[in-house]
């Protein structure tokens, strides 16, 4: 079944955020590798912002992703 609209929006926001600021590689959605990359990158972001490191897209993490910020990536090139 498709995800409810709200969840899809949050997921897209997170993907965009992690690509832009944490170098999440572009990959096929749903593949095992992509899911692993996503979890690893979200953990990296949670560590950076001193959030609870869960690897999942919880409310606290989404809240930080929605904050106004600088466009320079937090890690990498």
């Amino acid at each position: 079944l498709p995800l409810p609209a709200d969840d899809t929006d949050t997921w897209l926001l997170a993907e965009k955020y992690l690509r832009r600021f944490y170098g999440l590689p572009v990959g096929l959605q749903g593949s095992r590798k992509a899911a692993g990359d996503f979890q690893k990158t979200i953990k990296q972001m949670q560590r950076f912002f001193k959030l609870k490191v869960t690897g999942s897209l919880n409310e606290e993490t989404v809240e930080v992703m929605k904050q106004a910020r600088c466009g320079v990536p937090d890690v990498g090139e």
Partner: protein, 367 residues
Amino acid sequence: YTHFPRKLKWNTNKLTFRILDYTPDLQKSDVDKAIRKALNLWAAVTPLTFKKLHTGTADIMISFGSGEHGDYNPFDGPNNLLAHAYPPGQGIGGDVHFDEDENWTKDSTAYNLFIVAAHELGHALGMGHSTDAGALMYPTYSYRTGFLLSEDDVKGIQELYGPNPNPTGVTPSPDSPKQCDPMLSIDAVTGLRGETMVFKDRFYWRLHPQMPEPDQILIKSTWPSLRNKVDAAYENPEKDQVIIFSGIRMWALNGYDIVEGYPKYIHKLGLPKKIRKLDAAVHISDTGKTLLFTDEEYWSYDEATGRMDSGYPRSIEKDFPGIGDKIDAAVYQYGFLYFFRDNLRYEYSYTHKKVWRVLPTNSILNC
């Protein structure tokens, strides 16, 4: 703090900058002032100097643009992305771009250009993002006043360029307090609709019963009009209000919103004029009284009548044996009064009039 990969930095201390265009949100002179002030921040702690160019190519080219603005690194309309900058280098290196779709201001009503410029210019000089929420180089926007650079920012920039040989006497803000520091002391603590707020320096920790880790947030980023330091705070659940004290002023919060008509003078509560600040405040919901602590004495305020009780001030040491003569903060939870003094937290039984347990102060932050 961090730097860019390969620790990119300028090879000269004499840098040039040029403002290519201006935002219509502010007067030209205000933009000039904001940029100059932002550059001066970094110049105060390093040997760098900045000369303004009106034509030609400068090391740091500053511009405002919307959406795709020429560097294949588009902005995103209002909010979220505010600006970006490039690390030191030739061409686009060192350049600073602001999102024209933001509303730029010189105060706290929208995005303050000076604060964002100071952050971006940090990148233009070689600074990466900091994980310290109190640092200017922290990636998310927060409004603040005073000297913007924290010790973390200063250490970072001086690792690249060294210190200013002619120190200007400015004091960087201290790094953010560490939650589990065994020597941690706190300024104030209060409940807020089931959460607990612990104030320390420019920050507060927000503890939610369902969140294992407290959040550390700058006071100014939640309440820009509040002072940078809170002396005391208490919650009156009956009125659904939190009162925050700083110096001779107090603010009332309803949820996270400041109640209209505040700040008010603390003397409105009936305290004598000679009292210039409180150390701690706590509301005892069982009695409807609020205790206000200052130096070695405390006062009792009756919330129902809105008056100070007679017979006060009284001695802290005599009425609360075992906690000493002075406290930093207090809170009433689970039928106990918790007093904080330096790095210790005293669990005091109000009914038995004795200290039940002594814990470290950081235990309130789940350490």
